[in-house]
Amino acid sequence: MSISGDAQAGQRRAARLPGDLAMWFFILAELAVFGILILAFVWAQALQAPLFRAGRQALDASTGLGLTISLLTSGWCAAGAVIQVRRGKRGGTSLLCLALASACGYVILKLREYAHLASLGLGLEHDTFFTLYWLLTGFHFLHVLLGMLILGALAYRCRAGAYGPGRSSSMESGVLYWHMVDLIWVLLFPVVYLLG
């Protein structure tokens, strides 16, 4: 094979979709659902701007910052775990546990925010802003909880030696789900907490 042929073969090898194909279709479907919810939020805001501005006053952007950093740090650790496993190195389980710990930070912050809003009487039925706030962030929160279960299962299986070089596809799929949760949050956060 010629040098250019080798280079072309290398490029073909490089074009690789991580994880299972089914997971990518699932991710596209989830992004479509969250996309509709996010757009519903912003268009409701366009129709009731003063009400949304007032509702957003009850939210703390610093909490939103903490939530975002927690999720991003968790995503970073999970991505690092995949790299370690693919290389056949140790540390994948520890990184997955760190990802889980960082995700716990998100859960604690979010539950404190929910408790604060509930104590102020700003529940699901308070007004349009809070109806959409609870639906949108609550639906995302459920995805975070499911993602944490997946991370826990991955850590357990990783510790048992179920993954390694050439057999990391199911681990990649689980971690991809977690990155999708991150991806949705980075769009959801400015829409709910910042843009008014």
């Binding site: 991505a79 790299i83 990155h179 999708m180």
Partner: protein, 83 residues
Amino acid sequence: MSESVRLLCYWLGLAALTVATVNLARVETGSGIAVVVVALAVAKAWLIIDGFMELRHAPPGWRLALLAWPLAMAAGVLLAYMF
């Protein structure tokens, strides 16, 4: 650059953009600030897609489909914001 260092760079970029977004939004909001905040959100989404999800090495169709989602969201958000 090793994969671990590359991941660290992605995380640092994401953290820096997040802090910048929050600080910008604390300034009196206007349509100009809204455009910048949404643009930063799109940049963060692209970092996650190309960096953490590793779509920079994926077949172009899948990569473009994922990269298009934050752009479509940004267009919808800004359209509603300007309404």
